[in-house]
Amino acid sequence: MNPEGIIKEALERKQKALSEFDSKRLLSLYGVPVTKEELVRTPGDAVKAARALGYPVVMKACGPEITHKTEQGLVEIAIGDDEAVARAFGELTARAGGTTDILVQEMIAGRREVAFGMTRDPLYGPCVTFGLGGIFTEILGDVACRIAPFARADADAMLDEIKGAAILGAVRGMGAVDRAALCDALTGLARLALEHHEVKEIDVNPVIIAEGRPVAVDALVVLG
């Protein structure tokens, strides 16, 4: 589906946000690398999806109303076989309070995490942010930002601006991060913000660095 379609459909259903699955579909159309994943509604389909993706997998309850998944126990990681998939399907469905879509996604392994974001400043308009992922973004406030539109050189400069910039280089036996991929994602977010005013906020966190390649494992697109 094209970006317009994804957003229009959600607005017609009066959603305040896109589900993780739709958020990632939209973001991937703008150059943000995301996990391979499949949305399923039965344990059988979940197993099929898990086999296709290859074990281990991650499973999550998925819907436009579901935002703080980890806190609500709606994420199961490192699921290793068919039996565990079926069990996780049942548990997640129960915890989500009944019927819900279940997302089966590839499990990304990496020790480094970054985050992308987009907010709309009341004065300067869309503002794209880059920082360390996970809880560090919030706690350390170590974030670089640019207002859209910005040049690719600006995206590149953002990577060096955060205090934790050294983590993007070759450190502790890990290779350097694919900067071009990060720049593509940041400029893509700017383009998305400029082209779709219905998108109020974007939070892509964490983006795990797997063998140098960034992959967004969670994402939220807020509408409004």
Binding site: D121, P122, L123, Y124, G125, C127, V143, A144, C145, R146, I147, F150, A151, A153, D154, A157, E161
Partner: protein, 472 residues
């Protein structure tokens, strides 16, 4: 339209007056008229005040409508309550721009009064500057429409800096201090509440003026953001640096701004991003605003190609300080090649340093041109992008020798040379002023010099990036 203000051919002073207040200062209506007259504005000046027949040797009119000749600009120096009527008179007369000096509008909570003032201006096709402003100065054409006592400095020293700031009082003090340090400006505009004309309008207009080379902005809010950003882009294309100090970092600062000029301060982090994106040189200390603008003005096109500096001093102590500051501000101090070291050794005693930073030691007293010679050797190296000359405790007549050496080196070099003069200027009574008179960028500390070099380098980096993007 701003032509009629910043290059007005005729000026009416509504509320012109004479005499002093109880504390001995000139009444505002008198100050506005007298500064305009005393600075020698050549066009017609029309005092307006029904209480006088004549002021400052000119016919005084009861109302601006009574003036037969064309009036480009009106300075309205009345209390807030009387300004709307005066604006209506300006509209009827066909005045093009009116500057309203009085406070007591939106900044004091009376938005309704400001709205009426603006409505009266708009209805009559008059552009409004202020209210709540100290006015403006076009120092090139001696057009001084300003009530700030900074205009006691007469004549203004020439310069190519344009100052634009929302706060009139701070604007005056910044400019006054800068002038005492040898700097000069071509324009100064204090914008006040920006009910109509804002900082972005003046910026946009003055970029095209070839008598402006550098901008110094003291901002609370940027006002019209798209216009401001467009102006910033234009300034970058024309290679005219914009140095900016922005109030509103703290929540209390931001609140003070809102009540001061009714401007929305905006998030500081986002403004920081804007500065990086548009190549604005942001200073975090108001006292650095004009000195930084002055360095850009004096250095001109000689921006450093890289971040590698050569340092020459006669004090081992300040060598260490300078090295630390370079580290802090991201400048490199490259090792010198053996040939250069040997050449410097010819006039540096064995206990001095021929490494970078070069320490000439106090033996420098025995050599007529040690600073110059060492500086030139460093400037000639491809590995050096700029030179910092540091002086510590120097009295006369030695200070005069340094003053001459430093200014000569700086003038003749094709790379930037910045002086850090850590000693007391009072004891360098001839040498220190010589640096200012020759427009040699000078700071009172190693840090000041290092920081300035870093800013020149940042701006050069930004311009290079723009050039690359344009070429792609």
């Amino acid at each position: 339209m701003l032509d009629a203000m910043l290059h007005a051919r005729s000026v009416a002073v509504i509320g012109a007056s004479k005499g002093t207040t109880e504390t001995g200062g000139a009444k505002l209506g008198a100050a506005a008229l007298n500064y305009l007259v005393d600075h020698g504005f050549e066009g017609p000046i029309f005092p307006v005040n029904p209480r006088y027949e004549e002021l400052a040797g000119r016919r005084c009119y009861a109302n601006v409508r009574d003036i037969e000749d064309e009036v480009d600009l009106a300075l309205i120096v009345l209390r807030a309550g009387a300004c709307v009527e005066a604006m209506e008179d300006c509209a009827a007369k066909g005045v093009k721009v009116a500057v309203v000096f009085a406070a007591g509008f939106a900044e004091a909570g009376d938005s309704a009064l400001q709205d009426r003032l603006l409505a009266a201006a708009k209805a009559g096709g008059v552009r409004l500057a202020g209210p709540n402003t100290n006015g403006f100065i076009n120092a090139v054409d001696n057009l001084v429409c300003c009530t700030s006592s900074v205009s006691d400095i007469n004549p203004f020293p020439g310069g190519d800096i344009a100052f634009i700031g929302q706060s009139g009082a701070l604007g005056g003090s910044m400019l006054g201090c800068a002038m005492e340090e040898g700097s000069g400006f071509s324009y100064s505009v204090t914008t006040g509440n920006e009910a109509d004309l804002g900082a972005a309008d003046y910026l946009d207009y003055l970029i095209d003026d070839d008598r402006v080379r550098v901008f110094a902005l003291l901002l609370e809010g940027v006002g019209d953001v798209p216009k401001f950003l467009a102006a910033a882009s234009k300034a970058a294309r024309m290679r005219k640096p914009i140095v900016v100090y922005k109030v509103g970092l703290s929540d209390i600062g931001a609140e003070a701004c809102v009540s001061h000029t009714s401007a929305l301060a905006g998030s500081d982090r986002v403004f920081d991003a804007v500065c990086r994106q548009y190549g604005l040189i942001r200073v975090d200390d108001l006292a650095e605003l004009l000195p930084t603008a002055t360095v850009f003005s004096w250095v001109g096109d000689k921006l450093p190609r890289g971040n590698r500096v050569g340092i020459v001093t006669a004090s081992g102590g300040i060598s260490g300080v300078a090295a630390d500051e370079c580290h802090r501000w991201g400048l490199e101090i490259p090792e010198l090649d053996a040939g250069t070291k040997a050449k410097i050794r010819e006039f540096v005693p064995s206990y001095g340093s021929v490494r970078n930073p070069v320490d000439l030691t106090q033996q420098v007293r025995s050599f007529a041109s040690a600073y110059q010679d060492a500086a030139r050797m460093l400037l000639d190296l491809d590995t050096i992008d700029g030179v910092i000359l540091l002086a510590t405790m120097v009295g006369e007549p030695r200070a005069s020798i340094y003053g001459k050496e430093f200014s000569t080196v700086a003038r003749e070099a094709s790379k930037p040379v910045i002086v850090g003069w850590a000693g007391p200027p009072g004891l360098a009574s001839k040498g220190f002023p010589m640096l200012q008179a020759t427009r040699t960028p000078t700071f009172r500390s190693a840090r000041g010099a290092v920081k300035a070099m870093r800013r020149l380098y940042d701006y050069r980096t930004f311009l290079d990036r723009l050039a690359r993007e344009a070429a792609e």
